[in-house]
Amino acid sequence: MSQNDTPYILPPSLATQRDLRRLINEVEHIDNALVSSGIQQRTGHQSDDGIVMSNQLGDFMAANKLEFGDSHSRTELIASLRRLKDTAPVVHVTFAASAGHEELAKLVDWVRQSVHPQAVLAIGLQPELIGGAYIRTTNHVFDLSVRAELAGGRHIIVEELEALSGAA
């Protein structure tokens, strides 16, 4: 199977769209660095810096058992990653408080295991939710926030008031 058709395994550290874009930029940067290094070697110059990979890139390369081989494979990898960025399903999740890495990793792990293996998240912040999350997929909205639960329980207040006024 070629790299074009390979469904990549996205590690938990690669949770959001932004992470994916960063990954693509990093791969492009590495590709450029390797190409420059090759040219410099051919011209008798030594390359200055070694390749430094981020944890996310390292996790991605390890999860998919990839290596930075020749230029052609790197080009195909970049193209595949760009296609993945354009086609990966996005789940917009809005929290009431800032989400840490661990929480995002757990959430994206659940989404990839339960919903789609290549889904990525788009994180938002809205303190008015009080708690829970507001989730939006392509065609649906799932309001799992405390604010929605409060709105859904309005009838309890109305019933209590009616009971009080009836007792009075």
Binding site: P89, V91, F95, A96, A97, S98, A99, G100, E102, E103, K106, L107, W110, V111, S114, V115, H116, A119, P127, E128, L129, I130, G131, G132, A133, I135, T137, T138, N139, H140, F142, L144, V146, R147, L150, A151, R154, I157, V158, L161, E162, S165
Partner: protein, 305 residues
């Protein structure tokens, strides 16, 4: 030998059976199946007859009881109806009595008022009559005094010119006659005036009495119109009261509904303001994942579309 012959001519005796067996045999001979069947038929007929007699007796008894019940029920219903009619009659008669008492009271009050007004009018008329009669008497007295004075003047003239001749006496006599005639005419005129005035007073009195009756009638009409006005005012007052009560109730209901409608939002805003910044995602994440699990299939379907 004859005895022995007789003895010999007898049939040989059969051995004696016991009495029970003999009786059973007789019974078997008598109570054959046919006889038993006939006995059964007779028994059935007898029981049928007894049953029919019993049923007819029972039916008769039930009819009698039903008739008694019907009669008792009718009597009870009639008594209840009589009681109700009596109660209604009593209520109606009481109401009529009250109405009649009220009517009598009002009519007596109206009559008193009319009588008072009539007595005042009569008093006024009487005063006027007295005044006019006193005026008339005064006028008549004045006239008499005047006439007496005139007569005395004439007499003094006669006495003063007594010494004169017959012409003067005749003139005096003629003047006396003339004066007498004038006085007679004046008296008649006065009488006529008095009669005229008494007639006028009578007319006035009659007019006054007529106007008093008219006044009485107009007062009755005024009382009736006042009563109608009072009843209409009372009706309007009742309607206004009802309208006020309804508007108060409606406003209360509206206020309650507004409070009920907005209380939930007010509390919600309060909670959002108080708890909005206290959210901890670490503790909340398992709950969120649990809720997402419920919508997992919908998310999967959405992603695969």
């Amino acid at each position: 030998m004859g005895l022995f012959k007789k003895k010999q001519s007898r049939k040989p005796r059969e051995p004696k059976k016991p009495a029970a067996e003999e009786a059973a045999g007789v019974a078997d001979e008598v109570f054959t199946e046919q006889y038993r069947e006939e006995l059964r038929a007779m028994g059935r007929e007898h029981f049928k007859k007894i049953l029919s007699d019993s049923s007819s007796d029972l039916k008769r008894d039930v009819d009698v009881i039903l008739e008694q019940l019907t009669g008792t029920l009718r009597r009870h219903m009639a008594s209840q109806l009589d009681l109700a009619i009596t109660r209604v009659n009593n209520d109606i008669s009481n109401q009529l009595k009250e109405q009649m008492i009220e009517y009598n009271r009002v009519s007596s009050e109206a009559q008193e008022l009319v009588i008072q007004s009539l007595s005042r009018n009569a008093q006024v008329v009487h005063e006027k009559y007295q005044q006019m009669s006193s005026n008339l008497q005064q006028v008549v007295a004045n006239q008499e005094v005047m006439m007496v004075g005139v007569f005395q003047d004439n007499q003094s003239r006669v006495a003063a010119v007594q010494s004169e001749q017959d012409k003067a006496l005749e003139q005096l006599k003629s003047s006396i006659a003339e004066a007498k005639r004038q006085s007679d005419e004046a008296v008649q005129q006065l009488k006529h005036n008095a009669e005229e005035q008494s007639r006028m007073l009578n007319e006035i009195y009659q007019q006054t009495s007529g106007s008093a009756s008219q006044m009485k009638q107009s007062q009755a009409e005024a009382i009736e119109s006042l009563q109608k006005t009072v009843s209409s005012l009372q009706e309007q007052h009742g309607r206004l009261q009802q309208m006020i009560d309804e508007s108060i109730t409606k406003q209360k209901t509206m206020a309650t509904e507004l409070i009920n409608e907005h209380m939930a939002r007010i509390i919600e805003h309060y909670l959002i303001g108080a708890l909005g910044e206290r959210s901890d995602l670490t503790k909340d994440l398992p709950n969120i994942l649990e809720k997402m699990q419920e919508h997992k299939q919908a998310m999967m379907d959405d992603m695969t579309l």
